[in-house]
Amino acid sequence: MNDLTAEQKDYAIFLPALSSFYSTFVGKQRFGKDYVNPSRIPAHLQMPDDTLEKLNWLSPDGVFQYKWSLYSAGHANLDLSTHVEKEDMVRNRNKQTSLLVGDSGGFQIGKGVWEGDWKDPNCPKASKKRLEVITWLDNTFDYAMTLDIPAWVARSPAGQEATGIRTYFEAVEGTEVNNDYFMQNRNGKCKYLNVLQGETHTEADDWYHRMKKYCDPKQYPDTHFNGWSMGGQNMCDVDLVLRRLVSLMRDGLIEKGVHDWMHFLGTSKLEWALLLTDIQRAMRKHYNSQLQISYDCASPFLATANGQVYCQVELNDKEKWVYRMVSSIDDKGLAQDTTPYSQAFLREGKHTSFLDSPVTNGLLANDICKYAPGDLNKVGNEGKTSWDSFSYCLLMGHNVWTHIYATQEANRQYENGIVPKMLVSDDFQRLAFGEVVDEIIGCADSDKALDLIKEYNKFWMNIIGTRGATGKKTVNATTKFNELFTEA
């Protein structure tokens, strides 16, 4: 299955959070052709011009094609005034065959990597970074996140130290400064997604009420933001997601042709690929026929960095759905082994099955296990691993394909009536997530919709999100603690 764009149908779109380590291979190899020695490139991935375009899924030349990805400012060179080879996969992509969503780097502010007084519109450090980010986003992406300062910065000592932001309200204040700047300075080439944060329902509601104006065409006819991005508790708590959608419909802020994109940040649970499709279908059916929902995660890249390879997708009825990842083969003794990678993987007992991708189909064991005993790596040391850096790149490509395939195959099975345990309840009466969501979104009266959401309170608590307070932990003491107690 090579054309994953064609397989996407009307599913919520998974955006691989493209690693700069990976894109550097594709970008640099376009220049000089020796970032990876052409003899190192497996035969099925070779191009006549020795580039690595076969590994570029955004290109028609890719060994598989997939139109969509996300790329973050946090890892990128933002200076568009200089030519940067390693950024070329992103900067010089084929815009006819790709759609790229930019992440603004709010995470870097939260972690204290981007220093500055972000509450001060005139702070030189913060102002310089704001300009860099908006210039880069405006001229590189189709859609991008606004530059939010996540509410969790209040729990990040490094973030507090570097940004001077110590409370939720200061995070709000800093985000408002950034949003105002983006509205006044955007060039119109990129559509912006208004990031919603907040670590509890109370904070998330407050954040929404403060930030919703930035999406309001009545207040900002020419510069309003163009959609929404769900962060914090908004991206992991179905109850809150549905409440927010009801609010958006009630407030007229998720309108056809005006706000057509909603992104969920950092979402890796396979079940969410389905529930977001359910939500998208309900929204398209009842309210905004053009709404596109997307979600991203970096799991395919992070897994590889930890030596893990995706090997199987498990989609059994009424069970937990997963993409299985295990340790890959990594053995200097296999440096001369020309067994197909998948066979070597099984032979070495890594797992009982291996789902080949267009990247691994043609790959040999010694394409991954490159270093033999005694071989020195590129910094002149003999390391423990048999992998060279291109081994990581190859398996990242495989992991990306498998993750995308998993989200699509999960949707296909779901359409066939195979359902993960998380999205159905038959304890007392049968509840199917898609049907319940359709009922809620289809409610003409927002108060009735909210009542329905409350009615299914226990059902939402069975749906686990990627991080934050999810499932039963969505009910906790945080809100009242923050309201009634002070820590000093």
């Binding site: 509890t200 329902h201 309201e483 009634l484």
Partner: protein, 243 residues
């Protein structure tokens, strides 16, 4: 000394959700502060009398370890328990507890956390002023009825407290699940207009402690269970649970 240590462990780590406490002692008074990691319980404690060994500010971490040492049979009789001190900035400050058995051939040292570290890890928590709508002394029978209801609703992590007439009613579950409710206390002499949710495990465990217990609820969204062990009065403050 051993009695104080056992009392502290029983009322903190023994509950299962507080593993670090901060002691602040002067010649006039001794106090103890603790906080559950998930903020579900804030503990403030006043000792009935100043504890002379607990001078200054220090942390008691890994209370499970202290609990284990206190239960060792070698220390059951005639154990020598003393506070280790070190000079810091001209002051003798407590740095740990030394345990030695009667024969002098078995010993343990439990290490305190320095004031700098404990002040960083366990910040001082202050509660805003609230109005207590209901205040009463729960009976042993009430606590037993609570445990019965918990056993019938083991999947519930929270329960709702509300007043019905003069009675305080606890409710478990809702219309979509198995459910149950019961009168926890008759004639509580107050009103609750807001039915907040409270954590089952924490409330149940605190109410199971021995000592004189007073239970308070506020419509503002906080409850307090006070346990007087004789050696100290432990104030457990519980923020209401919500999404």
């Amino acid at each position: 000394m051993k009695d104080y240590l056992q009392d502290i462990v029983q009322h903190t780590y023994g509950l299962g959700f507080i593993d670090l406490v901060k002691i602040t002692g002067t010649s006039e008074e001794t106090s103890l502060d603790g906080l559950a990691e998930d903020r579900s319980v804030i503990l403030k404690t006043d000792f009935a009398n100043p504890v002379p060994e607990f001078m200054g500010t220090f942390g008691m971490p890994n209370l499970d370890r202290l609990g284990t040492i206190l239960k060792l049979t070698v220390y059951e009789e005639n154990a020598k328990i003393s506070i280790n001190k070190q000079e810091r900035n001209g002051d003798d400050v407590p740095v740990g507890i030394h345990f030695e058995n009667d024969a002098g051939d078995f010993e343990n040292d439990y290490r305190f956390m320095s004031s700098e570290i404990v002040n960083e890890k366990l910040k001082s928590v202050t509660m805003k002023s609230v109005n207590w709508g209901v205040e009463f002394k729960p009976t042993v029978g009430s606590v037993q009825r609570l445990k019965m209801m918990i056993s019938a609703n083991p999947e519930e992590r929270t329960f709702t407290a509300k007043t019905a007439g003069d009675d305080l009613v606890f409710a478990f579950g809702d219309h979509s699940t198995h459910a149950g409710e019961f009168v926890f206390q008759h004639d509580v002499g107050g009103k609750l207009s807001h039915a907040w949710d409270w954590p089952v495990e924490q409330v149940s465990k605190i109410l199971s402690l021995s000592g004189d217990i007073v239970f308070k609820f506020s419509d503002d969204g906080v409850s307090e269970i006070t346990v007087d062990s004789g050696l100290a009065t432990y104030h457990y403050l519980l923020p209401a649970q919500q999404k």
